[in-house]
Amino acid sequence: MALVIFYLLSFLTVVAAILMVTSRNIFHSALYLAAVLFGVAGIFVLLNSYFLAGIQVLIYIGAVIVLTIFVINLTHKITGADVPQFNKQIVPAFVVSLLSTVLIILAVLKTDWFHRMQGGNVAIVDNTALIGKQFLTDFIIPFEVISVLLLAALIGAIVLVAKDRGDEK
């Protein structure tokens, strides 16, 4: 049963991803990216990490996709359907990405994972509380560093996009 759900989710995700990179309209591309992120959130649910699935929907679909669509709309005259959306290296790029994917898949299929594994897929437990505890005990320094990074990104984005004061006066 879980395998059927996994294949359905993977099919949705991969098809949406292929449509995303081949779509000529960049706006459709953003919507397909939202579908991909939903599929990945479903994969996280299959992996019993509900907190991560929630974060995926909240941050990626709720914030990043909306921000991307805002920027697409702000620059819309350039990204119309009549402008060519792909550069001339499409054939070598296809070869490179296909070869690297096949390489990774071959490496995965040839590796014997089972005798290194400590446990199989564990029973369904809600590990949100454990994530919270880990964040405030063992991972307190990276947690604080990431908050400083987000603050820096916020200020940097405002500085980059805000108009110079000298221009207005």
């Binding site: 993977s10 990945v40 921000l67 620059t75 994972w113 446990g119 564990v122 994530i131």
Partner: protein, 102 residues
Amino acid sequence: MITLGHYVVLSAILFGIGIFGILTRRNAIGILMSLELMFNAVNINMVSFSKFFTPEGVYGELFAIFIIAVAAAESVLGLAIILAIYRKKQTVNADEMNIMKY
């Protein structure tokens, strides 16, 4: 029974599609979106390896949360740079951005 290989193969396919998108898109926003796709492939890897190798810990998920936070910051800064370039040069195509080229 879903094995670890299923997740890693799915992640590899998503990663390859992301590489293809980054290499072929002209639009810089499209490149950023393909980058998000690759981040998601890596996140699937992180969480599945953590689930199968250390089932009692949550280290992969913690790393995935850090990746999501850094990806959000990166996306915000990238879009801000794209908007600033659009204001100056009236273009968002990556092959027309050469103002730092000597």
